[in-house]
């Protein structure tokens, strides 16, 4: 051991390829076997009909079918609505709450810890809980509506095609607002006090302070959270699966649930077509994230 260390000391500045590959090998092996290879195999699958024990090359037939698949496009639309609505709701509500706590209210620590709780739960627990909250007969929302005499507004929130998707988006917001708030609050606390005090001295009101001083300084954090929330919602599966399974009338179908159904639920047994969906969706997600980061960076250049 000592001899090896002695030998290495001399060429420490050179590139010790043996050491580097030893450190990287496990990670690269896991990556190659369980991420890269499966991803390429999905791409390969997408050009085939993949039945148990039989693969037939069918060229672009799956892609042609996908273009005509109305359920798929409905799922894409739903997922995009979710992925664009959620960051807006979550981050803006979170910002308001973070500012409220930043204003040194008593019990701020307690509020912060309490609000964060939902995000620690699994979507399974949260999904069942909210399915009850949205229950037509005895869910607290309908009970409250009936109590104040608004019986006409009471409805099966998850059973009505018009309200099912918004109702689920509301659940993810309930879950994630606390998370976003904590991150924003940390960002607010890391701001230099002098700048805010200077703004106060300049007789800058709360609104002015917010728009001209605080917001520009926490911009990086806000954008980060927006992208994080966006990516999370593009993947959403658990909550839908445990509550509506994409019903009613595909109104809550997301790409994730649709891929799962086509691969493992429908009795077609073909893994090729769902792989095509996955491949196309992969390209769409990649493009969306690239565009999003691009747009944000562009804005940054324009402002400064």
């Amino acid at each position: 051991m000592a001899g090896a260390a002695l030998a290495k000391r001399d060429d420490g500045l050179r590139r010790p390829w043996g050491t580097i590959s030893a450190f990287l090998l496990p990670a690269l092996a896991v990556y190659a076997a369980l991420t890269a290879y499966p991803a390429f195999r999905t791409l390969w699958n997408s050009f085939h009909e993949v039945l148990p024990r039989r693969e037939t090359f069918i060229g672009l037939a799956n892609y042609a079918e996908l273009a005509r698949d109305e359920i798929y496009w409905k799922a894409v639309q739903n997922t995009f609505v979710w992925a664009f609505a959620s960051p807006l709701i979550e981050v803006s509500v979170a910002l308001l709450l973070a500012l409220a706590l930043y204003a040194k209210v008593p019990g701020a620590r307690f509020f912060r810890i309490a609000w964060f709780t939902p995000v620690l739960m699994s979507y399974i627990v949260v999904g069942i809980l909210w399915a009850w909250i949205y229950n037509y007969d005895w869910g607290p929302i309908n009970v409250a509506l009936r109590f104040v005499g608004l019986d006409s507004l009471a409805r099966p929130w998850l059973g009505d095609p018009d309200t099912a998707l918004p109702a689920l988006i509301f659940v993810t917001s309930w879950m994630w607002v606390g998370f976003n708030m904590v991150v924003l609050l940390a960002a607010l606390h890391s701001l230099p006090r002098e700048v805010i005090e200077a703004a106060e001295l300049d007789n800058c009101g709360w609104g002015g302070k917010l728009v001209f001083v605080i917001l520009p300084m926490v911009r990086a954090t806000v954008l980060n959270l927006v992208i994080l929330s966006f990516i999370g919602k593009m993947k959403i599966f658990d909550l839908v699966w445990i509550t509506t399974k994409g019903n009613p009338l595909w109104s809550t179908e997301t790409v994730s649930t649709y891929v799962y159904k086509r691969a493992f639920e429908w009795t077609t047994f073909d893994l090729g077509y769902p792989s095509t969906i996955a491949t196309v969706w992969f390209v769409i997600v990649l493009a969306a994230v690239l565009v999003l980061t691009r747009v944000f960076r562009l804005r940054e250049k324009l402002e400064y």
């Binding site: 994080l228 790409v255 990649l286």
Partner: protein, 272 residues
């Protein structure tokens, strides 16, 4: 005036707290009431409290198995991903070589991959290698899906350790492995704790890969188990509430003791 504004603010904050915590309080109350009582009044106080519903739910289900499976799978996966991730992160932060940034980018970029791109093929591959429906198979997949985030968080931390420290260790005759294990790893412990917590929570709650890769009752993880329990109990909401609480309580207890650590862990990927 200031006092008035403050009390309005406090009222709003309390309101939001009720909104955030209310569902938990509700399910906790229902968990102590029988289904008949609940159907009589869904928002009643548990009077008398039926504590025996907890042992009932526990013994009439396979919760013990689900907890054991989740613990085994998640603990093994977290240990592996931490070790593998830390080694890779240390290497990428410490050694300068061609392809360094390429490898980092390739590993890191998988964070945005939608799970569908790998899940169907992983199903095929695990079936092929006899790892389908096995805890080891799911555990390996968990290592793979948490690896990018782990490397991302640790790399940025390792990169901030001054390299003088490593040069000194090298002078003292430490080998490359010893430098990693005895110098870098202990210094990075706060960051490593963070990734351990984050990975633990995310994997403990993981559902999609589990539902695809595990079907056998004996291998079900907790989220699958809860789903199963609900399927079995059907309309017995009182029992379901108790079942839910059994899943919620451990999280709340751990959170009560380590709230700051947990918050720090969960937000690690988001803070800039």
């Amino acid at each position: 005036m200031a006092a008035l504004r403050k009390s309005i603010l406090l009222l709003l904050l309390t309101g939001y707290t009720m909104f955030a915590a209310g569902p938990f309080v509700w399910v906790a109350m229902m968990s102590l009431r029988t289904t008949t009582e609940i159907h009589h009044d869904h928002f009643g106080f548990p009077d008398p409290a039926h504590w025996n519903k907890y042992p009932d739910a526990w013994f009439n289900s396979n919760y013990a198995t689900y907890f054991a499976n989740s613990t085994q799978i998640v603990v093994a996966a977290v240990i592996l991903v931490t070790l593998i991730g830390a080694m890779a992160a240390h290497c990428l932060a410490r050694y300068r070589f061609r392809l360094n940034r390429v490898i980092y980018f390739v590993l890191f970029s998988t964070i945005i991959f939608p799970p569908q791109i790998t899940i169907i093929s992983l199903f095929q591959i695990l079936v092929q290698y006899g790892l389908y429906n096995s805890k080891i198979g799911l555990m390996l997949v968990y290592v793979a899906i948490q690896l990018p985030l782990t490397i991302y968080i640790l790399e940025s931390f390792f990169a901030r350790i001054p390299s003088d420290l490593f040069d000194a260790a090298r002078m003292d005759g430490y080998s490359d492995w010893e430098i990693f294990w005895k110098v870098a790893f202990p210094i990075a412990l706060p960051a490593i704790t963070t990734t351990v917590i984050l990975n633990f929570i995310l994997l403990w709650n993981e559902f999609l890969f589990a539902v695809v890769l595990i079907t056998e009752e004996a291998n079900r993880t907790l989220p699958l188990g809860i789903q199963r329990f609900i399927g079995d109990t059907q309309e017995d909401i009182g029992m379901i509430a108790t079942g839910l609480m059994i899943a919620i309580i451990p999280v709340i207890v751990i959170y009560a003791f380590f709230s700051e650590k947990l918050i720090q862990g969960m937000t690690a990927g988001a803070v800039k």
